[in-house]
Every structure is written in structure tokens, then in C-alpha cells.
């Protein structure tokens, strides 16, 4: 019985196919060509749009150690003031907005998508979610309490610079020395040099470990030479800022540079 049913189904399918074949043949060839052309062009259009979208992503990621002032900077960028103050963030702050200082500019200004990732070490895994779409990374360093935290900061920075996504896409990095309004703040050159020294040491101890310990597959800099930021394939710049006094012009410059208006 089943075999008969199968046979019947087969015959029916065959019939359907034949009918479809005839139908297609009946249509004049120009129509078919047009239809195919339309379908192909929409596909191509989609691909192009996707490609463009990926190229000009407008995400800036603010990261750094806990207490360096990322949340203050985020609100400065958005609203021009840090309101009543901040506490240690437990979740990332995200927002797509036009930079506050550019609200008064004439003409069309493209909004920027800024993400402030918590710096607490237990929340580090959250950074990876946003790195894939980042057009630029801002690594915020506390210029006042720099020396006690230099090891932690350099380890974080080292991990960041050796991540596959950062190296492959050559995401530009801005080393932002925050809190320079304070008298005891270090200069950006000092901070840069110290970080380079520490990363150099880290490089030595990390490469001494075998392959399994290197979670990131890339080594930094040129072996044999002391590490310097200009050796990295992605562009690294250093700037100063003060979150509390709204002195963030260099930061905004960086954002404008990498998020095309």
C-alpha cells in the first residue's frame, strides 16, 4: 500500500515539475532576464550597504581601570556636566548622541555611539562584547593615582593590545590621562614612558610562558628592542583631559577623527 502511495506521489511531483517547466518556458525571455537582474542587483546592493556600514562604525569604547573617570567622561561627552557625581559602575553605560559641545554647530552632525565599560576586574569580560564593533578605544588612566596602579593598568593595556580583534582591525587607541586638573597629576609623557616600560617587562615574562598561557595570539613590538607605542600596528596617541572641569577637547578631537561626520 505504501509503495503505491509513494508511486502516486512521485507521479504527482513529476507532473508539477512539468507544468512549472512549461509555465516558465511560456514567459517571454525578456521578463525572465529582468526578474533575474532585479534579484541580483538587490543582493549586490545589500552587500554593498553592509560593507559600508561595517567600515564606518561609530562606536567609541571608553575603558580603563576602576576609578579612572570613565563614567564622568561619558556624561561630559553627552551632557557637558557630570551632574551629581559617580560611583563605581556595575554595568556599561551606552548611548548614541551628538557630542554636547557640537550641539551648537551648524549643519548635520553625526551622532556617536559611546560605550563606557566598567573597569572593575570582575566585569572585564563585558569589554569583549563591544570591542567587535569599536571604531576607536579610549584607555583612561588616572594621572594622579598613577604609580600605585601602574602594574594593573599596564596589564590591562597589554591584554587589550594583544587581543586578536584589536590587532587585526588596527583599532586606534587613545591613551587619555585624566584628572590633570589636580596639582599632583603626572604629565602624559611620564605616563607614556612608564607604561611602555611596564609593558616591556610584561612582554618578557609573558613570552616566557608557554603557548597555553598566552590567551592572545599576538606579541607586541619588536623583539630585542624596548617596547614603544609607535611600534604597534594600530595607532596609539596620548592626550590629557580633566573630566570634572569639562576639559575634554583632545578627547573630542580623537572621536571626531575616527568617527567620520
Amino acid at each position: 500500500m505504501d509503495e503505491e502511495k509513494m508511486e502516486k506521489l512521485k507521479i504527482q511531483l513529476q507532473q508539477l515539475l512539468n507544468e512549472a517547466h512549461e509555465f516558465v518556458q511560456k514567459i517571454p525571455p525578456t521578463q525572465i532576464n529582468v526578474a533575474i537582474a532585479v534579484v541580483l542587483s538587490t543582493i549586490v546592493l545589500f552587500l554593498i550597504i553592509r560593507l559600508f556600514k561595517r567600515k564606518s562604525s561609530n562606536t567609541i569604547v571608553l575603558t580603563g581601570l576602576s576609578g579612572s573617570g570613565k563614567t564622568v567622561l561619558f556624561y561630559q561627552l553627552r551632557d557637558g556636566s557630570s551632574h551629581l557625581g559617580t560611583v563605581t559602575s556595575m554595568e556599561p553605560n551606552e548611548g548614541t548622541f551628538v557630542l554636547h559641545s557640537e550641539l551648537t554647530k551648524n549643519g548635520k552632525v553625526k551622532p556617536v555611539h559611546v560605550v563606557d565599560v566598567p573597569g572593575h576586574s570582575r566585569l572585564r569580560p563585558k569589554l569583549d562584547e563591544f570591542l567587535s564593533q569599536a571604531a576607536g578605544i579610549v584607555f583612561v588612566v588616572d594621572a594622579v593615582e598613577f604609580l600605585p596602579n601602574v602594574r594593573a593598568a599596564s596589564e590591562y593595556l597589554y591584554d587589550l593590545l594583544t587581543k586578536a580583534s584589536v590587532v587585526k582591525k588596527k583599532i586606534p587607541l587613545l591613551l587619555l590621562c585624566n584628572k590633570v586638573d589636580k596639582v599632583t597629576a603626572h604629565t602624559k609623557d611620564f605616563i607614556r614612558k612608564q607604561l611602555e616600560k611596564e609593558i616591556d617587562k610584561l612582554r618578557a615574562s609573558r613570552t616566557a610562558l608557554s603557548s597555553a598561557d598566552i590567551s592572545n595570539e599576538y606579541t607586541l613590538g619588536v623583539p630585542g628592542e624596548a617596547f614603544a607605542f609607535h611600534q604597534c600596528s594600530n595607532k596609539i596617541t596620548v592626550a590629557e583631559a580633566s573630566g570634572l572641569t569639562s576639559d575634554i577637547s583632545q578627547l573630542e578631537q580623537f572621536i571626531r577623527e575616527y568617527v567620520k561626520a
Partner: protein, 623 residues
């Protein structure tokens, strides 16, 4: 009087703070609260105590999970304000009505706050008056009944022992300035002594408010007990002295002739390397350096429901939860979370997580999910599971870097040897794992030296000597019955003389309750200030892990003569190969102490030393 009341978002922006209570807070209690309590998954605790030089505060908080808001109230610890919980929940309600994600200033909330505060204070006054009336009656009732939550004693003591249980929760973060004045010390001692008693007495009832009910009689009794304890310790020491002078006579069991020779050690091995050709142990790459291949099997969601034992309620629950998941229920209430959390808690306990820890974790997850809106097409159990997974990853992710090699290099630059002390109870595998760590360090071209400070157990020095001979590293030993602190000190001096980079100090196993031994241990740590205090715990341990670690930390903190005591910096988990998937001990230990797991011992040969793989542990715990 409240010191401060803050409303801030989970992202860190302060939305509103009471301007009238303008006193600046000493220290940074809010940041400390976030770092050591809320991010440590202790948000289920009732309150948090913070000590800064010059002030001691208690903090209470509540969440609004849907809007991602946190409400925190700070007040002086000596004041027992009764209206704080009430006030917080009222404020939460009012504020969520006027909250708008775009707004960042809420000045109009000041008036509302004043109003609410007056109401709350008035209510508290009323309750106090009714308690005053009820108090003489209740004092006559037996102490058993006093433990059950009732109006009178609850009020005054609730906050205090809420503070105690919060203190217990805050145990993990010991580095906060602990007051070491005598009165306070005893107070803390009492607190610790009484809370475990309460937990035992109450059994399953573990809500913080319920453990809060005690009466003043018990407090006084425990105070006198603590006083007696310190006295007996003082008495023990002088008694110990005369005993040492009397030498031990050999016990004669029967008429057999006395054994002349009791020492059966091979005279050849005593002399060392001469006659035996020793091959340096080279067993290949230590497993620390090998990458662990985790087989990722896709979890099927349907397997969760299989855990539920009751078939009937399962069917009904599944259907209603399916319906709710499609509809997207309004707000998650605690009662909705209960069954899912209970199932998770039981699951955790079958994986050998200590009961107390599982309970606290579930409370913390409940606190973070309460009031949240269920997304459509998700079941409650899957939301709870996801939240629990995130919490577990958060706890097990180390708070600070566990890169020991980096620390060793840093110490090498400074010219000092890097000192690691292995502590733990008896029989967990300190000496074995010490040898494994030495082998691993040797593979990374580090000069290691062992220090045999276990001067108590017979054969301990010989055991280390054998390991040292196989690994061909120097060992510093002074035999038995010497003061371990002095031996360690001399070992470190010897290491800096002969150029060793790392000194691994082996200590004798000791029970966490043994006061004189713990005192000796804290003296060793104080005298030598090691770079790393490694607590060795076995993965087979169950609920005792909580007790071991908390008592070790507490004793190290209390008995140390320095004002800034060293506590446990890291955990070495041993005998991991004996548990198949009952990996809960790792979670209990990390949760209770806050210290990261630095090594995992998984066998008895030199290469059996691994790193903790957080993702695989979390997956195993939630399977």
C-alpha cells in the same frame, strides 16, 4: 539620623542625594559597598558594615531591577535606626514613579523625600512604643521562643544582628580596617561566635531577619565565654612550659625487650647524593602550561525541567510557564523566582557547594532579578539560570592578577626572594603540591628553594628532602621541634644569600579551631611577611570549607600583632581528580574568602598542576 541617602544607576551615575544631610562621608563607603558586596554577589545580605578611620557606618540598600537603580542609605552603626528598610522601599516606589531615563536631575524629589522620612520616622516611633509594651511580657517566655521572630526584641536587636550577619557576609573582604581595640575585638568575636550558633540552631530558616532574633541574655553569656577563652589561653602557656622540661619515657607495652634502634632511615640516604645516582625528575610539561580542551556540548533547555521531582506540578508549571513566557509576564515577584531558585540551589548542593553559600548566592540572584520584567518568549527558569551563570562567572573571575611569574620577576628586580607560605588543615596535600609548584617554577627557569617549616609531623622534613633531591633544588631545614617562624626567617635569609628567586615554605597542618596553633601560624606570617599566603584546600571538602576558610581568615586577622594583618591571598585546590563533577568546593572557597584559585592539583605526580578554568567549572555546576 541618616548620614546619607543615595540613588544611583547601575551604570554609576548618581541621580539624587539628599542635600540636607550634607555631612561628607569619611572614606568611600559607597564604592567599598559596591566593590566588596554587590559585585561579590552578597547583595542578599541585609546590610553592610564599613569602617573608616574616624567613623563606622552601616549601609543598607535595595534595588529596582527593572529600571537598574540602586538605593543606598548610610547611617552610623551605633544608632540602630529602625525605619531604614521601610524608608528605602517607600522611596523606591516614589522614585520609580518619577524616574525618566533621560533626566539626570531630580530636585523635586527633595520634598517627597522629607515627607517620606517623616512618615517613616513616625511609624518607627509607633512600633517602638508598642514594643515597649510588649517587651516585659516577652522576656518571661523561654529563650527558644525568643528565637522565633516576634515584635519586641526584634526591633532593637534586628538591626544589630543584621549588622552581625552582614559582618559575616563581609568576612571575605578582610582588608577593611578592622577595629582592634579590645572592646570592639570582643564584640566582633562575639558576632562570629554567635552567628554560626544561630545558623545551626535555625537549620533551614536562613533569612537574615530570622537569624537576627536573639536576646541580650545570649549576648552576655557569649561575652563572658569569650572572656573565659582568652583567659584559658593565657593559662595554657605557663602550664606548657614545665611540661617541656620533663622528657618523655618510652612506653612499655608488654614484656618484649626494649627496641634499641627506632630509627630505620637508610644511613645512605642521610648522607645525600653520594651513592645514589639521582636523575632530576623530568616528567614533561606541567599541566599548568597545557591548554585545556573543553568539549563544548550544546545544552538542551529541556533537561532543566527534568530536575523537578514532582511530576504533577511539573506538568502544570511547564504549561503555565510556557503561557507566561509567550505573554511576557509583568514583573517578577519573589514567589515566582522561588521554585526556580530552589531547584538551582538543590542542583548546586548536589555539586558539593556548601549549603550556606548556595543559599546566599540564591538570595543575591533573587535580589538582582526581583521586579524585573520578563522578556517575552523566555521562561522564568531560563532567566534565573542566565542570571546565576553570570553571577558564578563574576565570582570565579579573579579580582586581581594571578600571574605569579610576573610577581616573581618583580621581586627578583628588587633583589628579594619571593616567599610563598602554604597553609591548610591536616592532610590536604600541602607538601605534595608544594613540590608540584616547585616543578612548574623550575620549568620556567626560576630558582626555587624549599623551607621545611613543618617541624611537627614525623617524616615531614624527609618528605621534602626527597622532593628536593628529585628536583635538585636546595632545601632549608632545621629538623623537628623548632619554632617554624624562626626556621622560615632563616630560610629567607639563606635564599637571599644563595640567589634563590622563590622560597616555598611548608607549614604543619592545623585545625582551624586550634587556637595556639593558629596563633603560631599568624606569628610566622607576621614575622616573615610573605608575598603570597596560599591556602591549600581539598576539593573533597563539603560544608567544612566555609568553616575552614572563614576561621583561618578570622584567626589570621585577630591573632596577628600587626594592625594590618595579612590574610589569605590565594587558594590551591587539591585532589581535583577525585571528584568527577562535584566541583562545588571551588565555589564555596572563593565565595567565602574572596581569594582567587591560583592552582588546581589533579593528581600525585609533578605534572598534575592546572589552572582553574572558570567557564568549564560554571558549566559543570549548572549542568
Amino acid at each position: 539620623m541618616l548620614e546619607q541617602l543615595l540613588i544611583f544607576t547601575r551604570g554609576g551615575l548618581i541621580l539624587w542625594t539628599c542635600k540636607e544631610l550634607g555631612n561628607a562621608l569619611r572614606g568611600s563607603p559607597i564604592d567599598t559597598l559596591i566593590r566588596s558586596c554587590l559585585l561579590e554577589e552578597r547583595s542578599g545580605a541585609a546590610s553592610y558594615n564599613y569602617d573608616a578611620p574616624g567613623a563606622s557606618y552601616t549601609l543598607k540598600w535595595t534595588f529596582h531591577n527593572e529600571l537598574s537603580l540602586v538605593f543606598v542609605a548610610v547611617y552610623q552603626r551605633i544608632l540602630h535606626l529602625l525605619y531604614v528598610d521601610d524608608l528605602l522601599s517607600m522611596i523606591k516606589q516614589e522614585f520609580s514613579a518619577i524616574y525618566d531615563p533621560k533626566r539626570t536631575s531630580y530636585d523635586d524629589f527633595d520634598d517627597i523625600f522629607q515627607q517620606l522620612k517623616k512618615e517613616a520616622e513616625a511609624r518607627a516611633e509607633e512600633m517602638k512604643k508598642s514594643k515597649q509594651l510588649g517587651k516585659p511580657v516577652n522576656n518571661n517566655l523561654g529563650r527558644k521562643q525568643g528565637q522565633v521572630q516576634n515584635g519586641s526584641v526584634d526591633g532593637g536587636s534586628k538591626k544589630k544582628s543584621g549588622g552581625e550577619s552582614g559582618n559575616d557576609g563581609g568576612d571575605g573582604d578582610k582588608s577593611r580596617g578592622r577595629p582592634l581595640e579590645n572592646g570592639n575585638l570582643r564584640n566582633n568575636h562575639v558576632g562570629k561566635g554567635e552567628v554560626p550558633a544561630m545558623v545551626n540552631a535555625n537549620g533551614k530558616e536562613n533569612g537574615a531577619s530570622k537569624t537576627g532574633a536573639f536576646d541580650v541574655n545570649k549576648l552576655q553569656k557569649l561575652r563572658s565565654k569569650a572572656a573565659k577563652k582568652t583567659e584559658t589561653v593565657v593559662n595554657k602557656v605557663p602550664k606548657g612550659e614545665p611540661n617541656k622540661k620533663i622528657t618523655k619515657k618510652n612506653r612499655v607495652w608488654d614484656d618484649s625487650p626494649k627496641e634499641s634502634k627506632l630509627d630505620f632511615t637508610d644511613p645512605v640516604s642521610e648522607n645525600g647524593e653520594q651513592n645514589i645516582s639521582v636523575v632530576a625528575a623530568d616528567e614533561g610539561e606541567s599541566m599548568m602550561d597545557k591548554e585545556e580542551i573543553i568539549s563544548s556540548d550544546s545544552e538542551s533547555e529541556e533537561e532543566e525541567t527534568g530536575k523537578d521531582s514532582n511530576v504533577d506540578s511539573k506538568k502544570k508549571g511547564w504549561f503555565s510557564s510556557m503561557f507566561q513566557s509567550i505573554a511576557g509576564k509583568a514583573n517578577l515577584q519573589k514567589s515566582d523566582l522561588e521554585p526556580a531558585l530552589k531547584a538551582l540551589k538543590d542542583g548546586l548542593m548536589t555539586k558539593n557547594v556548601a549549603e550556606e553559600i548556595a543559599e546566599k548566592l540564591c538570595e543575591s540572584v533573587a535580589a538582582s532579578l526581583e521586579g524585573k520584567r520578563l522578556a517575552s518568549f523566555t521562561r522564568i527558569s531560563s532567566t534565573v539560570q542566565a542570571a546565576m551563570e553570570e553571577a558564578l562567572v563574576r565570582i570565579l573571575t579573579p579580582r586581581r592578577s594571578i600571574d605569579i611569574l610576573r610577581d616573581v620577576h618583580a621581586a627578583k628586580e628588587q633583589g628579594k626572594p619571593y616567599v610563598v607560605v602554604f597553609v591548610g588543615v591536616n592532610g590536604v596535600g600541602k607538601s605534595t603540591n608544594l613540590a608540584k609548584v616547585a616543578y612548574w617554577l623550575l620549568q620556567h627557569n626560576v630558582n626555587v628553594m624549599m623551607a621545611a617549616c613543618d617541624t611537627f609531623r614525623s617524616g615531614a622534613v624527609e618528605q621534602l628532602r626527597t622532593h628536593a633531591r628529585r628536583l635538585q633544588i636546595p632545601i632549608f631545614e632545621k629538623g623537628y621541634e623548632k619554632d617554624p617562624a624562626i626556621v622560615a626567617k632563616e630560610a629567607i635569609q639563606e635564599a637571599s644569600r644563595n640567589g634563590s628567586d622563590v622560597v616555598l615554605v611548608d607549614t604543619a597542618g592545623r585545625m582551624q579551631d586550634n587556637e595556639p596553633l593558629m596563633r603560631a601560624l599568624s606569628k610566622l606570617i607576621y614575622v616573615n611577611s610573605p608575598d603570597l599566603v596560599l591556602f591549600v584546600g581539598e576539593a573533597l571538602v563539603g560544608n567544612d570549607a566555609v568553616d575552614q576558610l572563614s576561621k583561618f581568615n578570622q584567626k589570621l586577622g585577630d591573632l596577628s600583632p600587626s594592625p594590618d594583618p595579612r590574610l589569605i591571598d590565594g587558594i590551591l585546590l587539591t585532589k581535583f581528580d577525585t571528584i568527577d563533577d562535584k566541583v562545588g568546593a571551588a565555589l564555596s572557597m572563593v565565595y567565602i574568602s574572596g581569594a582567587p584559585v591560583m592552582f588546581v592539583g589533579c593528581g600525585q605526580s609533578y605534572t598534575d598542576l592546572k589552572k582553574l578554568n572558570v567557564k568549564s567549572i560554571v558549566k559543570t555546576l549548572l549542568k
